[in-house]
Symmetry: C2
Subunit: 297 residues, 2 copies
């Protein structure tokens, strides 16, 4: 479950309310495409903005629509009490795993983050993915801290941020982390532009945002990269380069939402305020990137 391609769907809103039909259809399309797991309520799934009841409902819909594909549910919150409540809801919904980032308002120390994971791990009956996302949490994991947390028996995987485009540098980075964690713990790459390099560098999994919109294409790319077929993986991934360039300038969250809106997979205006979708210039750039790649259906 914590290797291969994990697709992270958007959570579409309509007038700030969950669009249940679009969400269920989106999750079902990922399952049908043969992804190895589904990451519901990741960052691109807007988890940080949603209430406990909204998140519990989304967990149910994801598990119900995923057919037999394992679902990993994001459970992060600013307060440990709320993380534990989300864990309970995710497990009740039938989650196969949970994903936890160290959200912070007051900057957290390494010891506070370790104790957060230890407390959550002690309450879990499913495996945990450690979610390292410094852009949103502003928490910088050291490899030493990753190693310490990975000793907790509940930890099954670490979702790391993007790696260098240079394969030797990326491989050294993955090897350095690998040396500090138990063999049972997998390493998954995120930052879609780094995905192929990350897999070729030895990551076990690709936690992918664009796979939540283009699951067929990313199953092919990720599986080619996983078996070491660099040529095929890179050739197939190249068409997405213009979108990844837009990720860098506009953020993956807003760009992925604009892609899904452009393609009609979701309705317009799916993000929660204060976040706003791309402006008309940004949307035109997204449309041009999709056209150039032959991705507009």
């Amino acid at each position: 479950m914590f290797s291969g391609l994990s697709a992270f769907p958007l959570t579409p809103l309509t007038d700030e309310m969950l669009d249940e039909a679009s969400y269920s259809a989106l999750v079902a399309s990922l399952a049908s495409a043969g992804v190895d797991s589904i990451g519901a309520l990741g960052s691109t799934g807007s988890y940080a903005y949603l209430s406990r009841p909204e998140r519990a409902r989304i967990a149910e819909l994801a598990v119900d629509s995923a057919q037999a594909v394992p679902v990993i549910i994001g459970v992060g919150a600013l307060r440990t009490r709320d993380v534990l409540a989300n864990v309970e809801d995710a497990q009740n919904a039938g989650a196969s795993g949970v994903l936890l980032a160290p959200l912070a308002y007051q900057p957290l120390s390494d010891d506070e983050v370790y104790r957060l994971y230890a407390e959550v791990a002690a309450s879990l009956s499913v495996p945990l993915v450690v979610y390292d996302n410094p852009v949103t949490t502003h928490f910088a994991f050291s490899d030493e801290l990753h190693g310490r947390i990975a000793q907790l028996p509940a930890v099954a995987s670490i979702k790391i941020p993007g790696v260098s485009a240079d394969l030797a540098t990326a491989t050294a980075r993955v090897d350095r982390l690998r040396a500090l964690i138990p063999e049972r713990v997998t390493i998954g790459i995120s930052g879609d532009g780094s995905g192929v390099t990350g897999m070729l560098a030895g990551c076990d999994a690709w936690y992918s945002v664009l796979a939540g919109v283009f699951p067929h294409e990313f199953v092919e790319i990720a599986h080619a990269a996983h078996r070491g077929d660099a040529e095929l993986a890179r050739a197939r991934a190249d068409r997405f380069a213009p979108l990844w360039a837009l990720f860098a300038s506009h953020g993956s969250y807003r760009v992925t939402a604009a892609v899904a809106e452009d393609l009609g997979i979701v309705g317009p205006g799916i993000l929660p305020r204060p976040v706003r979708g791309l402006d008309p210039d940004g949307r035109a750039a997204v449309a041009a990137a999709l056209d150039a790649a032959g991705l507009r259906r």
Copy 2:
């Protein structure tokens, strides 16, 4: 209301639940000491960690315990929908103003932050304080954005982070902002170590965390600084320098909590997990600083 000394009380928890009696006594002690306003549910008041019902209850307790002193309530949340709900609760409780920081999970653009303030301002029947706290929000206000937001009629004050210890530099910083905002909008300094310099540099208000524990002492310091009596203000502020040094190394939130716990103003363990109080070494340093200053009662 948005000038002079505004004291920001802690929100004491006991086993993760609000300690109502301690909180009401704390707020009442600030009012009795003659502070000009009370800032309930600021960062030191743990607002970011509390649920809507908890925050509504705290707003009620604060207004009820503040006698005739105006209460400003923190209403920030990651999602605009939740900010608006907190505004409604604060107004129903009898708040005299609200305080809003641009909390973010996905980094926000200037335009998104402007539109957040515009939307909230349009719903308000009390004045708004713009809360600029880059350490917790990771959002960097430009002075130009402050100027644009300050044009919204609901905006009454801007709470700025600490300024340079050099008075000329601090004065230039305050003057630069002042030139961009309407005359009705006050500027308030935070970062307690900068408070005296900020007031001498022309700030109208001091939004103070230690005033939430030592209100008598800070009323004297702030009022001296406000009328330009630099000598008295600096002489009286000097004794707090060891505490401000600890703010720099351990964070004002944890240190202020440890001070209040040491003095018995609140019970032990008042912070919400994953945040932990200071370790024994940190607490010993706090006790030593209080002893040296003759502040241990």
